[in-house]
């Protein structure tokens, strides 16, 4: 019983620290805003990859990491946002300093999508909803 409880606690702790899971790499990633998110100005964020259950050491994915913003419009149209540029600061830690969100007549919400790509092929995709 104690073992089962410990297992459940360990699982829930691990799940709590894993914002996104990428099956193709068997890696977790945490997402953290470092500026904003704000509308009509630059926002910044950081995505850190690590082995599930071990946040002490970041791990660089074997394949390419690609990130972009995505607008989910209330009228059913979806489209990308202004281009953003990511930089792998240290292995497994990616920063974006130029995320650009706006509404300007749109109804809906923004997402940040993180993909693992092999060339042009998308192996994995996870998304974070942007809450202003």
């Amino acid at each position: 019983m104690k073992f089962l409880l410990a297992l459940m606690l360990a699982f829930s702790a691990s799940a709590m620290t894993c914002d996104m899971y990428f099956e193709s790499e068997d890696l977790c990633a945490n997402f953290e805003w470092t500026k904003g998110p704000v509308l009509n100005e630059y926002s910044a964020f950081e995505v850190s990859f690590f082995n599930e259950g071990d946040t002490t050491q970041t791990v660089s994915p074997r394949k390419d990491v690609y990130m972009f913003t995505w607008m989910m419009m209330a009228n059913g149209h979806n489209h990308g946002g202004p281009a953003i540029h990511s930089n792998e600061l240290i292995p497994g830690v990616f920063t974006v300093e130029d995320a650009k969100f706006f509404m300007h007549g749109m109804k809906g919400y923004w997402m940040v999508k993180v993909q693992i790509r092999d060339g042009e092929t998308v192996l994995d995709e996870q998304a974070i909803k942007v809450e202003f």
């Binding site: 009509n40 489209h79 990308g80 946002g81 202004p82 650009k100 706006f102 300007h104 007549g105 749109m106």
Partner: protein
């Protein structure tokens, strides 16, 4: 002999059937931008002759820089009213990220953060404003 003949044919080509497109350096408000192409336009905004030109090819999703100049007669002049610009997609009823305007010199300004976030028909609104009142406006149609 061949050179003289070629020069004569070229001369006839340039002077016949109205203005030669090769000699026509003027652009006007009907000029539209196309993705991957350069685009420029010259319009009247209030009392100013305004020339706008994309700095390089127009690109989707990424930043575009646009140089805009204001002239009265032939002199570069700073506009007396606030200049404001924004993108609008009339078919979809929304705009884009705020355009940044900075002064480079007398009558010469640079617009940056010009993001076309999808292909389609856009209007680039060029305005003179005081507070929230629009004094003059020109909509430059850009079809991408």
């Amino acid at each position: 002999m061949m050179h003289k003949l070629a020069a004569l044919v070229l001369l006839l080509f340039l002077v016949s059937c109205g203005d030669s497109p090769f000699l026509d350096k003027d652009t006007d408000a009907k000029v539209s931008g196309n993705s991957g192409l350069q685009a420029s336009s010259a319009v009247l905004l209030g009392d100013y002759k305004v020339e706008v030109e994309f700095d390089g090819d127009i690109v989707l999703y990424d930043n575009n820089n646009v140089i805009i100049t204001f002239k009265r007669e032939t002199q570069f002049t700073d506009p007396k009213n606030n200049f404001h610009a924004y993108l609008w997609m009339p078919d979809h009823g929304h705009g884009s990220f705020p355009i940044k305007v900075e002064r480079l010199g007398k009558g010469i300004y640079k617009m940056s953060e010009v993001y076309f976030t999808m292909p389609g028909y856009w209007d680039l609104h060029l305005q003179f404003k005081e507070d929230d009142e629009i004094l003059d406006e020109y909509k430059w149609p850009i079809n991408l």
